[in-house]
């Protein structure tokens, strides 16, 4: 159950991606599934920095990967303000360009491409758990 801790900065995005990609590939997820996991984690970490920490360099983010032969679970923890992305309204993907909103896409991608997305708000930290199972069509 490898856990890594990263500074809450956008420079950490690629490092976290490499870590998670390695874990996802180790259980034989397809290229598309690995890309979906990487996308979801990138969006989640960006949200933590932007909304929970409200900026870069305000705190750390821990990333834990739990794998079994059929799935990977990624647990992201931060120590910033509680932020519940599930309260963000979904984007209207059929809206014409001029009324197309440019926020909410990241959370939408997390929810669409992962099999489970849970938020837990503890006393000392915020925890996001995302699960990706093999062979789900993406």
């Amino acid at each position: 159950m490898p856990t890594q801790t990263y500074p809450g900065r956008y420079e950490s995005l690629e490092k976290i991606a490499i870590f998670v990609r390695h874990e996802a590939e180790s259980i034989g997820l397809t290229h598309a599934e690995v890309f979906a996991v990487e996308t979801a984690v990138n969006e989640a970490v960006s949200n933590i920095i932007e909304h929970a920490y409200q900026g870069e360099g305000k705190g750390d983010i821990t990333c834990t990967c739990i794998t079994d032969p059929e799935s990977i679970s990624i647990i992201l923890e931060d120590f910033g303000h509680p932020f519940d992305p599930s309260l963000v309204p979904p984007p209207d993907l059929n809206a014409p360009l001029k009324s197309r909103k440019d926020h909410g896409l990241g959370i939408f991608m997390m929810q669409k491409w992962m099999d489970e997305v849970h938020f837990e708000f503890c006393k000392d930290c915020n925890r996001l758990v995302m699960v990706k199972r093999k062979e789900k069509k993406v």
Binding site: Y10, L13, E14, E43, P91, D102, L105
Partner: protein, 111 residues
């Protein structure tokens, strides 16, 4: 992320390679703004060597498309989109607001 700008007679083309995420998105904004502030609004974005595109990149593309299409003065088109990035565009509903070309030759030729 790296960008390379090529100016054609009827449009400008930006080749984007590497990762576009919250770290690198400001650099892409800067590159696209350079084109539009020079009065050019017909833009091909060559994605043949892009590796990753987050919602930060999607937001830039939407904002630039809105800016370029204002007054019917131009538009942003996308070219040579890798399969996994195309899946992002399809999920985000981009296929109805951007023309997507198989290669840069047909994209440049569309202007």
């Amino acid at each position: 992320m790296e960008t390379v700008l090529t100016k054609y007679k009827h449009c400008d083309m930006v080749k984007v390679s590497g990762r576009v995420d919250s770290l690198t998105a400001p650099k892409l904004v800067e590159e696209l703004n350079k084109i539009t502030t020079s009065g050019h609004f017909k833009i091909v974005v060559d994605l043949s060597e892009i590796q990753f595109l987050s919602s930060a990149g999607l937001r830039i593309l939407i904002a630039t498309q809105k800016h370029c299409k204002r007054y019917n003065r131009g538009e942003v088109v996308l070219a040579a989109v890798p399969e996994n990035i195309l899946a992002v565009f399809e999920l985000a509903g981009f296929t109805s607001i951007f023309k997507i070309f198989d290669n840069v030759i047909s994209a440049v030729g569309a202007f």
